[in-house]
Assembly symmetry: C2
Homo-oligomer: 347 residues x 2
């Protein structure tokens, strides 16, 4: 056991070094211990206390390596989705809408007030992973805890198809759904890349002159691929999911962008025009690497006069709120989103 | 100039030391540079880039030292308030309500819809500083940008009077105001200790069977004096206002508590029963040492079925949103609070 005072002294000296290297005009945060947060459910505490994965910054460099990562993610997602569907009594079937693969997610009972409503879900995964049956995880939570019929879009990803293929697929599903439902009866939601695609879908629908959904729920959206967002620095190595910008998520998004300008609002929606957006509820956690980009989107929506609600969960890292359906925090998130949709969608 | 790679290598070694000292079951965040955040106004960038004050952890140890600190704070607050009142065209006069000193804060024009409304403001300062004319700073912002008549309570502080004197003074003013205004025409607000006192005032009014205000705005409340709150660890030395729990704020609150149990909801309101609370809007920043305790209160309010809105500002430290009335972020905060009150108060 190393002496605690000696360790902190070493940390202080290191901070001086980094401070010097960083330059006089740059601030530095010293090393600190992260005790287990107290005010969490045991399930979330277990997730929050996981160490940062040692290989977090080993990301695929070739198309073949990305494809292998995609297959591995697909397999683990399928296992999770199967277990969760059984626990939540949700039925999932596969079909296509306008040629796009979708999962139809039905709870045991659709609530009476939701009989004429449809939710469209867009999955997470940095634009390159998270496809296949595992895509339905967040869809199941809102379907089950909110009594909603949900369609989850299994959008195309690189290397099969690049920007704007994923967005095109979401728009195609939206146009197909408009043949059966009024736009005011429908909401769009998703987390991370799915949160970004939710915002991008509304921006694109505005461009195309399509009607907009009655509400949206962009969770911890990858809203800025240009590196702006203070929590990329403050929560680096504190978030144990994305870990840092050296992780695989930004390279994944760049793989999807395929050379396209990352500042395009259809890739970094925080730079889009939010005027006329539907009511939005946003979710993040205090340890989330995308905490800043979630609150930046929230503020921009409010400045554009949009009704926008924000919920931030104690100590949670990026999108950790969809990882364990047995945790009360997860149920809170799903119920808040469902209640928000209920308040804003027509019957 | 020290080599950057060498500096980070030293930081890494230090992290290993601390990791060892912390024990195998505790996570550690390494040293990191904090580049100047991009998405801020120049005014806020200047505040955010201020270095951590070197004497942040030198806090008074004796009653005399506390009294000296209080006088110094009073003098600097008076200067700030005088300048701000001139810029914002706000008129301030002193009077008493039920024996409690208050400041009457009047904007150039009270908005027509606010003619029968009154806001009660409770100032910040860790329960020991921030009194006198400087108490009116946040009151002026909401008075000026929202067109409201505001009463700011210059509550008693130690060493003149200890817990629950401050709370008693707020309750006295509330009872006096009830002689002229309906409770639904009034809101209570404040930041930091003032945010805690806002929550404590509602808890106490519930205990006493008094009517509750129509809305509240507890900004970054000191809602938990027991040390719980993950951002005490994650934002330590990143927040350049409170800096860390080694700063003077917790000892200040303990000086006020005067030996009373810190877990009492009238000192740590996050442990109170929020059922029946009026609609609330909460404000914090991503670098705030009290980020966690603000979002914990928000979640607890929501779980109690209370309409509660949260706004989190990019990169701001504790209560930095009331420091510069010329910054657009400050105006956003004041306008959001004013709009929230307008939506929830009767005329």
């Amino acid at each position: 056991m190393v002496d605690r005072r000696l360790a902190w002294a070493a940390a202080f000296v290191a901070a001086l070094f980094v401070s010097e290297a960083a330059g006089a005009d740059e601030r530095v945060a010293p090393v600190r211990a992260l005790p287990t947060p107290v005010d969490l459910s045991p399930q979330m505490r277990a997730l929050v206390d996981r160490p940062v994965p040692l290989n977090y910054n080993e990301w695929p460099k070739t198309t073949e390596e990305w494809a292998a990562r995609q297959s591995a993610s697909r397999a683990s997602g399928e296992k999770l989705a199967t277990d969760m569907a059984a626990r939540l009594h949700v039925k999932i079937s596969t079909s296509t809408m306008g040629g796009v693969t979708v999962f139809d997610v039905l709870p045991e009972t659709v609530a009476p007030e939701n009989r004429n409503r449809l939710l469209i879900h867009v999955h997470a995964g940095c634009y390159v992973v998270g496809g296949g049956p595992g895509a339905t995880v967040e869809a199941m939570l809102v379907a089950s805890f909110g009594g909603f019929h949900v369609i989850s879009v299994d959008y195309r990803m690189p290397p099969a198809a690049y920007f704007p293929a994923a967005l095109d697929d979401v728009i195609t599903v939206w146009q197909e759904a408009l043949k059966t439902y009024k736009p005011s009866q429908m909401a769009v939601f998703g987390s991370s890349a799915g949160g970004a695609l939710t915002l991008e879908m509304v921006l694109r629908a505005k461009q195309l002159g399509l009607p907009l959904p009655g509400a949206i729920a962009p969770g911890t959206p990858m809203a800025d691929l240009t590196g702006v967002g203070d929590s990329f620095a403050t929560n680096a190595m504190i978030d144990n999911v994305l870990v840092s910008r050296d992780g695989f998520c930004d390279p994944g998004a760049q793989f999807y962008a395929n050379g396209h300008d990352l500042r395009d609002p259809l890739l970094s929606p925080v730079y889009g025009d939010f005027v006329g957006f539907p009511p939005a509820i946003l979710t993040t956690g205090t340890r989330d690497l995308l905490l800043s980009n979630t609150v930046r989107v929230h503020r921009k929506l409010r400045r554009a006069g949009v009704e926008a609600q924000l919920q931030v969960f104690e100590a949670l890292s990026h999108a950790q709120y969809i990882r364990d359906d047995t945790a009360p925090e997860t149920r809170d998130v799903a119920k808040e989103i469902a209640a928000f949709f209920d308040r804003h969608l027509s019957n």
